[in-house]
């Protein structure tokens, strides 16, 4: 069986992407608070929703990334 090596740079890159997803979700929360005229406390109290949004976004991002990875692999083998 082959060992899987996770490089520090890969982990850092994934964490940065996840952080960006979290920031995007929180921005979405801010937009919702402004759009629906909700109290600002929802920026904190709705953190559960924000986390779920960030994880979903992160997972969704894997779809184009996997496609890109696949294309890259195919072009290298040719």
């Amino acid at each position: 069986m082959k060992d899987i090596i996770l490089k520090a740079s890969s982990i850092k890159r994934e964490l940065v992407i996840l952080l960006c997803c979290f920031a995007a979700a929180e921005l979405l929360n801010l937009a919702a608070v402004i759009f629906y005229s909700r109290p600002a406390i929802e920026l904190l109290s709705m953190i559960g929703y924000v986390i779920v949004f960030s994880i979903i976004t992160y997972l969704l991002l894997w779809i184009p990334r996997l496609v890109a990875l696949l294309i890259k692999k195919i072009s290298i083998t040719r």
């Binding site: 979405l28 929360n29 919702a32 608070v33 629906y36 909700r38 929802e42 709705m46 929703y49």
Partner: protein, 427 residues
Amino acid sequence: MERRDFIKEFGLGAGALAAVPWLASCVRKPDAAKGDKARLALIGSGSRGQYHIHMLRGIANAELVAICDPYEVNLQAALALCPTAKAYSDYRRVLEDTSIDGVIIATPLGSHARITLDAISAGKHVFCEKAMALTLDECKAVYDAYTHSDKALYYCMQRMYDEKYVKGVQMIRDGLIGDVVGMRCHWFRNADWRREVPSPELERKINWRLYRENSAGLMTELACHQLEVCNWVADRMPVEVAGLGDIVYWKDGREVYDSVSLTYRYSDGRKISYESLISNKFNGMEDQILGKNGTVDLTRGVFYLEEDNLEPGIKRLAKQIVDKTFAAIPTAGPSWRPELRSAYAPHPLIEGQVSVNAGQSMVSADHDGSDLILEAFCNSCITGSKAESVVEEAYCATTLCLLGNQAMDEKRVVSFPSEYKIPYMKF
């Protein structure tokens, strides 16, 4: 704020008094000496009478001095709860006792009017269980006697003193759910409504609710409370009623319906849709006030908004995204879609723990306003002051119940008869 204090504070507010004038009776007048006690007699010591004994124990200015019941079993059960009280089997002997300030009547409906009239004649203040009386003529006779007397008369319409109802009605009037467009009340149970009878000759006495000589059935026993709330919200009386009543399941010799379905119509077209069934409890008991912008369920002390602006922003956004992404073909728009009841988010009418008497158990049964209305009665016994609008509300609710029964019996639309109208009524 404590529940009791809330009602008292509410009763003092000048603005609130217009909507709930009876709450002023919760506040003792300053001229009443501290330590004064209302000397009371209980007439009818069955389960409801014993419930009142339980309530009186928590009221500092109440003293139960006499208990009356012709049925020895109930009399002894009540005396066990209050051994210092004097026992009577004939209510007329109780009324002869000049040391008694007021009487609490918890007898079968058929005797409410007679005992109330005798008690008022004897110079007693009266607290009577709902409904007011068994017939329209009796209701009118009691109402006339009350208006010509200086004695206080209360009917145990406890929703009038229940915090969630008081606050809820106030919020509805303040525009919480927009224009009130209808009312939907029901009371479903799955029980035969029978009590155990030790010997057959007592059947009609113990199970009095099932027989017409003493009962008007589901209407006076259950609907009475709910119709009162509807009038309170609408601030007027329905002009007519239609309905159907049947004995659907409990065909055990009873004479009152076990299934009723009625529609009361106000002059502006709004309606009360009322239903009660005692062979299925799925829908439970609900007093729903339907507004253009939302619904208030007074029974549970919650409200729902059609467009829920109180829902967190991100939750609403997520719903919109899901709706836009997964919605079916939008042909013809919302008017075409089948509308199943949505999972509306409930919002509380009052902060803190809401006392709900669900009816299936006695938990919270003593915090439904019954204690406060009884305390208000004790205040009246001491100060001699009448409670505003309590008798009038009971009169309106009871007459509607009796007209509902008439509509069901005669299978026709019954308009409110002019001879039973009182000045308090607005149509």
